[in-house]
Amino acid sequence: MSDVGIGIGPSAPQAGAELAEGLATPRDYIALLKPRVMSLVVFTALAGLLRAPGDLHPLLGFTALLCIAVGAGAAGALNMWWDADIDAVMSRTRGRPIPAGRVSPREALAFGLTLSAFSVVVLGLLVNVLAAALLAFTIAFYVGVYTMWLKRTTPQNIVIGGLAGALPPLVAWAAAAGTVSLEPVLMVAIIFFWTPPHFWALALFRADDYARAGVPMLPVVAGADQTRLQILLYALVLAPVAASPALLGFAGPVYGLVAVLAGAMMVRLAVRVFRTRQGEAAVKAARGLFGFSILYLFALFATLLGEALAAHLVEARPW
């Protein structure tokens, strides 16, 4: 179809399937926003928003979250536009709207650019310029640095590119406080160091998919054993980084306990991945780490969120 070849991706990929013109539904456009990734972004951003000092009006807080969510979704849509050729050959992604032919690449590009601009401008006008600038940087980094540059060129793609996924708490903090400080930077660091073991665990049991798509993920380029070592090293760094908000006095003892216990479990599972290298047990170990890593990040930020909510409640009713 004529729509498909319009400057998408490095090799102007065909989207894989003939475009079913005019059949896109709102659900397809929502899928372009990567709602599951967006939910993680909203969750971590909410923690940043509620932990920040200042008395941002709840409606402005909601507006900031909405803009961050839409900005993240827009970056996801631009990622799908650029990576349509990769998505078409990977089993995990071939059902996405562009490779499935329900949305044309041109429509996805227009959708992503419009929402990117809109989310940044609205955040700048309604909340503050610092948050808008950070959101613009996040979108540009995810699309320009990770998607267009790193993803196809280096096995360190998700390490460096992970910064984009780590920034939402900082953007939300800036929206609420108007400044940035060490505490949101620690939140960013937690997500940043969480990203490699999470995605490399996935890549261990999806290596064939990535190899077929030509994406130089670490297991494809350096092999599974090197990946297992890197996972373990990152898990060993992640556990103390995750505990640091409690150690530095930003978070309470409940968070400290959760961070230590869950961090120990994360390291234990990483050790199991490192030591179990053959057969179905190795796949099971990688899947186990991948699944627990999601739970781990959720537990950390849920506890941060819970502590912030408790503090707000005590502040509202000092009985």
Binding site: A20, E21, G22, L23, A24, T25, P26, Y29, H57, L59, L60, T63, L66, L126
Partner: protein, 95 residues
């Protein structure tokens, strides 16, 4: 008056594979350069122009409704944020 020797055949188009029928595209540049005047048929039958399949019509309607809802929600949000930013003090000033 110069008229184009090319006549339109309404409803015929290569895009018919998806049930869509279009007029042949008219290049604006070509029209300006050679200055032909194209007479479109005054009376067009129901089969002229883009004819969507029922499935395409349903999808378009769903998209239109979604856009309308989003725009309405945004208008409401901007109104509410404006009120919040103005604050209660806006009503408390000398006439």
């Amino acid at each position: 008056m110069v008229t184009s020797s090319r006549t339109f055949k309404p409803g015929v188009d290569a895009g018919g594979e998806h049930g869509r029928r279009r007029r042949p595209p008219v290049s604006a540049n070509a029209t300006v350069r050679s200055a032909p005047v194209i007479h479109l048929p005054r009376q067009q039958g129901p089969e002229d122009g883009v004819v969507l399949t029922p499935e395409q019509s349903r999808s378009r309607r769903a998209r239109s409704i979604a856009i309308a809802l989003v725009l309405a929600a945004l208008a409401l949000l901007f109104y509410a944020v404006t009120i919040v930013k103005l604050g209660p003090g806006v009503l408390d000033r000398p006439l």
